[in-house]
């Protein structure tokens, strides 16, 4: 039986008994069988000593019970780990950062408290999933559109608090950036409301974000300063229409011009999520043989790449532009975009995509491709990990994502792709990137050079994935790049790359942690923030 660190069996038994008084015996999980449900299904340490395993889980029904649980945990110095829907796969799932923690499973707190389709916001509890929020909106015919991540069973709150991202219009793709108002239970069991929520009787908690004075919300995302129990979400009004169009540019070097024009459109709030591609380079992470051959004798030169491109008779790069709004404006914006690209990049060509009126009619939804474009929750992303003819001999058990943040410059796209190829080759793994690797655009003002590494229920195979993951983090840091989000297995290593001025940022966060959570009970070690009495755990 797993115990919290430095807590005896007798003390733990007493604590469990107090948890039971607080939430009821149905909602305290301490048997081996029940604790196993809180393992990270995609753990890169499955079955090994470093796998993060809870000592128990507690599922409160409401804020008052959360307060009681936190106070009990504080009295016994038991670390706790709050989860919302606990489906943060590839980033740790439902498992705690520190083995022996008691998971606080907030799934039962699953009320949609309010959705307003005139002021365009929602107020949700942690256990609300995207599926739940969508159904709430849909059943009531409310005219707002969600921005959702890939798996619909995630939590709008949980996803935002891990800096998760989506697929529609720029500001909304940044899920934490589009939250508005938090309610938090502190490590000492007090309730704080931020922004206008701090004014008793306020009716503008989800209207104005800042309140007055320094805002503290950022402390509760990717961290361990408190337990969020309510969150406001800014929503996009349901657009009248959607239009897509493709821009193709002929030369390898045109990528810079392409990115610049796309940035103009995104930063002017004229387009939704741009999707980069490479007709000559083939599908991302599955380049054809002739492209891979270019890398056989080291990285090809610019002139080699330009020769290759012109020999293939295909455009070097493309971008899919997506427009949301009234028909008049989406058509006008697409027209203007074409004019600008044509002027900026000689030889640019265009192709119309789709025009759809919104909302999508119910009968068209089941077979609608890429439902995330319209905020319709689904699980279709699991094709990435589901058994397919290519993986049939040895399907993975999960994966760990690694998004490297780079600036919106072609140079950074090319250099980071090269870095990936070198990193894979350093460890004897066939590379999945190529000189035509295209970046992702989750955050509208940055680019992402992504990769994902398989996870297994097999220690030897996991070790290979972990080593490559760490190696990429190291090589990225040599270039001044780092990742935006990672699983507990990698958090210390990832955070160590944010080391400016002798890790001044982390040292500041640690001071706050020691003050706000003196017993260090909330999610010790999450994103590298260890309480004082565990700071030598860092590794």
């Amino acid at each position: 039986m797993a115990l919290p660190p430095n807590v005896s069996e007798a003390e733990f038994a007493n604590a469990l008994s107090e948890f039971t008084s607080a939430v009821g015996s149905d909602w305290v999980f301490s048997s081996d069988e029940d604790i196993a449900l809180y393992r990270d299904s995609y753990s890169v340490y499955w079955g090994e000593e470093e796998e993060r395993i809870a000592s128990a889980a507690v599922a409160p029904a409401n804020v008052e019970q959360v307060q009681q649980v936190v106070r009990i945990a504080n009295r016994y110095r038991i670390p706790v780990y709050p989860i919302s829907t606990g489906r943060n796969l590839t980033y740790g799932g439902a498992a705690p950062t520190l083995s022996g923690s008691v998971v606080i499973d907030l799934k039962r707190m699953n009320r949609v408290l309010e959705v307003d389709d005139k002021r365009h916001f929602a107020l949700v509890e942690p256990g609300v999933s995207y599926f739940d929020l969508y159904d709430y909106i849909h059943e009531r015919g409310l005219k707002v559109m969600l921005d959702i991540p890939d798996p619909g069973w995630g939590s709008p709150m949980g996803n935002s608090l891990d800096h998760g991202v989506g697929y529609t219009f720029g500001p909304y793709r940044d899920h934490f950036g589009s939250h508005i108002g938090l309610e938090i239970v502190t490590a000492e069991g007090e309730i704080i409301r931020t922004g206008m929520g701090a004014v008793p009787g306020s009716d503008s908690w989800q209207d104005y974000h800042y309140g007055a004075g320094p805002s503290i919300e950022g402390l509760f995302a990717q961290s361990n300063f408190g337990i969020v129990t309510k969150m406001g979400v800014k929503l996009m009004p349901m657009p009248e229409a959607y239009l897509s169009g493709y821009v193709f540019v002929p030369r390898y070097q045109d990528l810079q011009g392409l990115i610049e024009e796309v940035s103009y459109l995104e930063d002017s709030y004229l387009v939704g999520m741009p999707m980069y591609g490479s007709p000559v380079g083939g599908p991302f992470m599955n380049a054809p043989a002739n492209v891979r051959a270019l890398m056989e004798n080291g990285w090809p030169s610019m002139s080699q790449l330009e020769s290759f491109v012109s020999s293939q008779g295909l455009p070097a790069w493309s971008v899919k532009l997506q427009f949301y709004g009234p028909e008049e404006t989406v058509r006008a914006n697409w027209t203007a975009a074409q004019r600008r690209f044509a002027a900026a990049i000689p030889g640019a060509t265009f192709e119309a995509g789709e025009f759809l009126t919104l909302p999508i009619p119910d009968e068209a939804i089941p077979s609608l491709p890429d439902k995330v474009r319209f905020g319709i929750p689904n699980l279709e992303i699991f094709h990435l990990v589901a058994r397919n003819p290519m993986t049939d001999a040895d399907p993975p058990d999960g994966h760990a994502d690694l998004f490297t943040m780079i600036p919106r410059k072609a140079e950074a796209v090319w250099d980071s792709a090269r870095m990936m190829v070198e990193a894979y080759r350093d460890l004897g793994v066939p590379p999945v990137h190529s000189p035509f690797a295209t970046p992702l655009t989750y955050y509208s003002r940055a680019l992402v050079m992504p990769t994902l590494l398989p996870s297994w229920r097999n220690a030897a195979k996991n070790e290979r994935s972990r080593n490559l993951y760490m190696h990429i983090l190291d090589k990225a840091a040599e270039n001044g790049w780092a990742t935006y989000r990672t699983a507990p297995a990698f958090q210390d290593h990832a955070i160590s790359k944010y080391s400016f001025n002798d890790s001044a940022l982390l040292r500041f966060q640690e001071k706050l942690k020691d003050s706000i959570d003196p017993n260090g009970i909330i999610s010790p070690g999450r994103y590298g923030i260890w309480p004082a009495n565990m700071r030598n755990n860092r590794g």
């Binding site: 081996d32 069988e33 499955w46 079955g47 399907p395 229920r457």
Partner: protein
């Protein structure tokens, strides 16, 4: 008899340092594959089979406790390093589970012989559709104790190792109140 409600995939077992894979030298098949024998010792006849094979120094694994854990910690890793042939005697629900787990590795049932043990002690041996076992009555008595005829059973089953898979009706039979159905099978 207590039915398990899940195949425990071994949280407890996984937390222990990995156990040595003891005594799995086992019997080699005609090819390079490792023979893995699995029985459900909750059943007397399966216990007889197990004892008979153990007396021939063939390792046997009991799946009556934690089939899932055994699969993931022992059987599957062995198969990943060297192809295996699975042979054993279990109930039909165990077989369903093993077929699903083995199918994940492209393995299927090639030999299946059901043993319907009636409450009056009479035993019927029923080969799966597609198996011609005209001589089965000579090999196995229609009475308790048949499980001890392990040599005959394993030799018979191993003949089917390289045979085409059986397309028998998979929907049963599963446990019925008036009898116990065990099954001897080979999966490869």
């Amino acid at each position: 008899m207590q039915r398990r409600t899940t195949l425990k995939l071994g949280l407890g077992a996984s937390l222990l340092s990995s156990l040595p894979l003891s005594g799995l030298a086992g019997q080699k098949t005609s090819g390079a594959e490792q023979l893995q024998v699995l029985v459900n010792r909750q059943y007397t006849e399966a216990g007889h089979l197990a004892d008979a094979m153990l007396s021939r120094n063939i390792a046997v694994q009991d799946i009556s406790g934690d089939l899932g854990s055994l699969w993931y910690r022992s059987i599957k890793p062995q198969m990943e390093s060297k192809p295996a042939v699975l042979f054993g005697m279990t109930d039909t629900i165990d077989l369903f589970c093993l077929e699903e787990l083995a199918r994940d590795f492209g393995m299927q049932t090639r030999f299946r012989l059901d043993h319907i043990i009636h409450s009056n002690g009479r035993v019927e041996h029923v080969p799966a559709d597609g198996l011609n076992l005209a001589d089965i009555r000579q090999l196995l008595p229609a009475s308790p104790g048949f499980g001890a005829k392990a040599d005959e059973l394993s030799a018979l089953a191993l003949q089917y190792h390289h045979q085409p898979v059986l397309h028998y009706k998979k929907s049963g039979p599963f446990q019925r109140p008036d009898n116990t159905t065990l099954v001897t099978w080979l999966i490869s």
